[in-house]
Symmetry: C2
Subunit: 195 residues, 2 copies
DNA sequence: GAAGAGTTGTCTCAGATGAGACAAGGAGCG
DNA sequence: CGCTCCTTGTCTCATCTGAGACAACTCTTC
């Protein structure tokens, strides 16, 4: 399949499909959706769907990747000065894409997506692990299996925190939830560094 | 121009243009907009615009007419039992189309639209004038020039009330604002019936 | 396990759409 | 006035899209 990008019609089709998918996940959950349902909502033909995407997983994946790109851009602007600032930005990002993440992570979402997100976050945590967030590991040169395992644990924690936060209607400001979760993350890293 | 309706593509184009127009009125005001700007936001060609509409006034007009159709449907369901109920439904309708009416009636809207709405409301008031709302006129058979003038005044009052209500962020519930304005309307009718 | 209903993924072709060019008109400016 | 820049409204043609048909597949339900 040739993944087109130049044409306005193609980009419009993709936009309509993305919006329709998010709406429908909110209404009926991801797993229950059929391609025909999505394309009907998007006012697009079923053929147009298959011209752009493999299946509905491909579609969410691209929505998610786009969201992640937006997040990474936001993180670039913050710089790496203050470790918690990254997570403030992260939760601000979640808040901005509230409907999307609520749809994908909430009760009607698919576990498949939570895995996807956990993996992406684990990569982020690993990248940050080289930096100032994980001072202990850097100091003690603790190159155990913790280097793979701990980021996974921390990422899981962040996904859980995000899910909880969204489902409760975001009771804390991004700054606050970021503080709490990054303190938890630090504690995990610290504990792990003693292994 | 042949006004097409059957095709999905045509309806989609119209939907995209409607949404783009409302967005852009909110951002930059109605008068400042060019056709090119609207079509670009809608991800639609300029030619497609002219295939569906005469000009931007034609487009707002249709958005408004669609909104009015929705309102009249809602009014049908209410029935004519309780005069204020009609106005409760009216303000509930305004609230439902909050963004649209705020955009069209607010500071960046066009006076042209306020006139349009006043005329539509005057017709509504005249229709209701035959009914139970205007008990006085019916009782006293007051067929003066008031039959044309008073509905205009009342309609103007409703437009003003609507504008005020939207700009203040809808401080009252639809029921409450409906109560107050319909009392005003009754007072106007009562006074006029003594002429 | 057979039948029925619904979904998926692919294909074709008529038909609607986007790109772009065009003349005409208006607004701002010296 | 003349000049430039932008917008409008219309047209043509290449291109993308929707409709619909199709076989293959998966569930239910008997």
């Amino acid at each position: 399949m040739t993944r087109q990008v130049a044409n306005v019609r193609v980009r419009r089709t993709q936009k309509l499909l993305r919006e329709a998918l998010v709406e429908l996940i909110e209404e009926r959950g991801f797993d229950a959706l059929t391609i025909g349902e999505i394309t009907e909502r998007a006012m697009v033909s079923r053929a147009a769907f298959y011209r752009n995407y493999q299946d509905k997983y491909d579609l969410v994946e691209q929505i998610f990747e786009e969201a992640m790109r937006a997040l990474l851009n936001a993180l670039d602007e913050v710089g790496q000065q203050h470790p918690p600032a990254v997570w403030v930005e992260f939760f601000a990002h979640i808040a901005a894409y509230d409907r999307l993440y609520r749809a994908l992570l909430g009760g009607k979402g698919s576990p498949w997506f939570a895995r996807k997100m956990r993996a992406a976050l684990a990569d982020m945590v690993k990248a940050l692990g080289q930096g100032p967030l994980n001072a202990h590991a850097a100091e003690h040169h603790s190159h155990t299996f913790a280097d793979d395992f701990v980021p996974d644990v921390v990422a899981t924690m962040f996904v859980e925190a995000t899910t909880w936060w969204l489902e409760k209607g975001r009771p804390y400001a991004p700054k606050e939830i970021a503080m709490r979760t990054s303190l938890l993350a630090s504690a995990i890293f610290k504990e792990a560094s003693t292994w």
